[in-house]
Symmetry: C2
Subunit: 499 residues, 2 copies
Amino acid sequence: MSIQLIGTRASFCPLARDLSTLCQVPQDAPLMTGSGEVGVIGLGVMGRALGLNLADHGCRVVGFDQNAKRLATATGGDSPIAAAAEIEQLMAALEAPRVVLLLVPAGAPVDQVLDLLGPNLAAGDVVVDAGNSHYRDTQRRAQTLRAQGTTFLGVGVSGGEAGARHGPCIMAGGARSGWHQVEPLLGAVAARVGGRRCAALLGPDGAGHFTKMVHNGIEYADMQLISEIHHLLRHTAGLDDRAIAALLSSWNEGELQSYLLEISVDILRMLDAHTGQPMLDVIVDVAGHKGTGRWAAAEAIELGVPAPNLLAAVGARAVSAHPSARMALAKRDQRPSPFPEQAPARLHTDLESALLVGRLASFAQGFELLRAGDARHAWGLPLSEIAAIWQGGCIIRAKVLETIAAACAEGLDERGLLGHPAFAQQLADHLPALRRTVALAAAAGAPAPCLASSLAWVDGMHTAASSTTLLQAQRDYFGGHGIERVDREGRFHLDGSEA
Amino acid sequence: MSIQLIGTRASFCPLARDLSTLCQVPQDAPLMTGSGEVGVIGLGVMGRALGLNLADHGCRVVGFDQNAKRLATATGGDSPIAAAAEIEQLMAALEAPRVVLLLVPAGAPVDQVLDLLGPNLAAGDVVVDAGNSHYRDTQRRAQTLRAQGTTFLGVGVSGGEAGARHGPCIMAGGARSGWHQVEPLLGAVAARVGGRRCAALLGPDGAGHFTKMVHNGIEYADMQLISEIHHLLRHTAGLDDRAIAALLSSWNEGELQSYLLEISVDILRMLDAHTGQPMLDVIVDVAGHKGTGRWAAAEAIELGVPAPNLLAAVGARAVSAHPSARMALAKRDQRPSPFPEQAPARLHTDLESALLVGRLASFAQGFELLRAGDARHAWGLPLSEIAAIWQGGCIIRAKVLETIAAACAEGLDERGLLGHPAFAQQLADHLPALRRTVALAAAAGAPAPCLASSLAWVDGMHTAASSTTLLQAQRDYFGGHGIERVDREGRFHLDGSEA
């Protein structure tokens, strides 16, 4: 089983490798039968890749993009995507009932396209927003379009360009009737794991984009954790990137197996084409973002979910975004000396374990965010199914999701994943190494916000008698907000009076 | 100079103490002259206290509350606050141009009161929202009312009940003409530091409530830091609360001098009136909140400001809010043994220093949030003046604000407070102790999210070559988002092609 990169930016990855583990689509995946056809509006990286993927599976694809250059690039030459010069033309080229995928930037552009689409829609058409829209926008749009007789699905698509091209993870939300219409198309192009399609309807309006938002929050945290581990290995332990790649590659054979670790190994082995230097040495260390990770953090705050890893990852990206301040401050700074003498073997296994606990913490927090969103909106999110479809196609696919899917299938109590024996055991086994890692990073002056927040979260969630009592007493002292007592119901002031 | 608690909940603080340091209003503060008069709508804890404070200063106060019980409590007996049965009656009782203070819960209640007020307003009247409104709501309301010819000020009032009663910190935003009308009233009742009134117009619409929101974000972080230090002292080092009170009281004589530390000492010395137990032992360790700290965290995320302490404090409150999960998990948990042998003297000075660095970090992050809001809204926030008025009346008043005010007066560059020599020196002197503290907390299993995030932020801001390069490479690898290069302008993919 192997797959060739066809029709994508051929030089996407300068290192030859077998893409099968990235894409997880067997070549013998069944093609769609019948006259599947779809319109794709927005032919950027994701729209074009998804369009080509649909075409590979026997679907007739008509594409439109407001940007003439993007339209020409996606539909020119021997591209199987047919070009439409206008949205009207695209709609006229499809047989009713029509399926239209939007892959345009989140926010106003989606509303603009929907405004243009509106007059061209007929009863039975299904509009699928496959971009990274905020789930509240999706709820609003679905409601508006429903009133106009159109079915609107909000669908999170993960896997980046390669995933969209060869098998993404597809998280849908909206009316079941609409999903039935598009499932033959989207199910066919999705990733597969053990014969199972990584595509599912997860709930009503907004449930798909909410799940994708949480996915991206976990993604932010996992990327940050890997970067922190890299920093410790390179700048503190003094390994070069090839040595780190070898180490990470060995980790990727075990419990840490994941897409993000795999591509990190690839990246660490890359040499810059222009200078011949290690790839990372030519990259500016400022993190960009497209907003979804920040939305996840903001949603955790809004819902009161303890998801400190997601917050710490957002905070770390913000720190990175001040490079000239950092450089000016670093000049004057006296860093502590690197790790006190430490046997490399022990250090390496400690970092491996620390990364595993950090990842488990990020996922557990993400699943708490899913549960809180589910409780707020009464969606009935199928957590076990989410953990199952996240095992293929998407950016955060990882071996730990096997344990998580099993735990969710058994049902989670108030303790969440921390309450599941297998998950808790795995975490407990590796926790001492995270303790040592956080301590070493602190001593060495290596910033490790997400590792540290993982540990603080685990310890916080295992603390029966916390010092929040003092904080609550302060709040009553200065603000008269009242406290609850351990020995009776009600709210009281510090002096014993009722609040 | 001493002040008696009169007319407030007399048992507010069960321990007798001199309130002068709390209130910082000398008894010889000049009373307002002339016929100052004001309407107060909303007579809860803060409205009533502020009304009594105004009355103390010779102001005629007419009060209204929709809740008849609250109205009766605040205006009955020998209260100097006159009762109005309806808003119309309140407005009729005041001479034009009128000043009306709103002290109602943030959100819809403010809009409801404004709707009721509307028909009763005349040209020249000034409406002051002195509650904890979101600054965006304040901007919207000011614009709406301006179109109707009314001046609307959004005013953050800090100091809790005691502050409002005896001298709060007052942070105003809105039209200068409106401020001139209310300044004689609000300036008179505000706290004073060295003869200076802790009340100022900080900028146009929204600037006051934005500043108050940041104040509360710093407050969340400082409270969390003190709680973490308490946890280390009590649950790990094994001190009881009276011993901790003695220690904190000695710290409060030095660089850590602050209102929050002072009241913590009071609290730690309290015995519960019902059981005779140490006060904290009867309090449920679940943190409540009124939203402003969460708004500050969400705003930091929105503006891309690195304020990880504010985020960590919000995350820690969320962890606390799951007590039954924590208790269930703690039962099964094998905590590490407490600190390895550690000389108590060294441990205590380390924790003192760790708290100081944590506090400096929280303030520095808060000031970055102020600067980012200022830049976004072009308010012209007077940072030095904010640091000055925060030294009196408000909850976060602290000795470190002297250094901060001086630094702001000299002007901050891109490095923020970290770039100021005095601030940086203070931080550098105590940083090694924070390193040891974070390491010890990690080893001991004591959750210290805000201490850890302080350290990660300091280290992150002093890192010239971070591993964010790897994170950015990942983003381009899977998402084609592009990277920036250290050696040329533009955006590129990993293969060297232009993005």
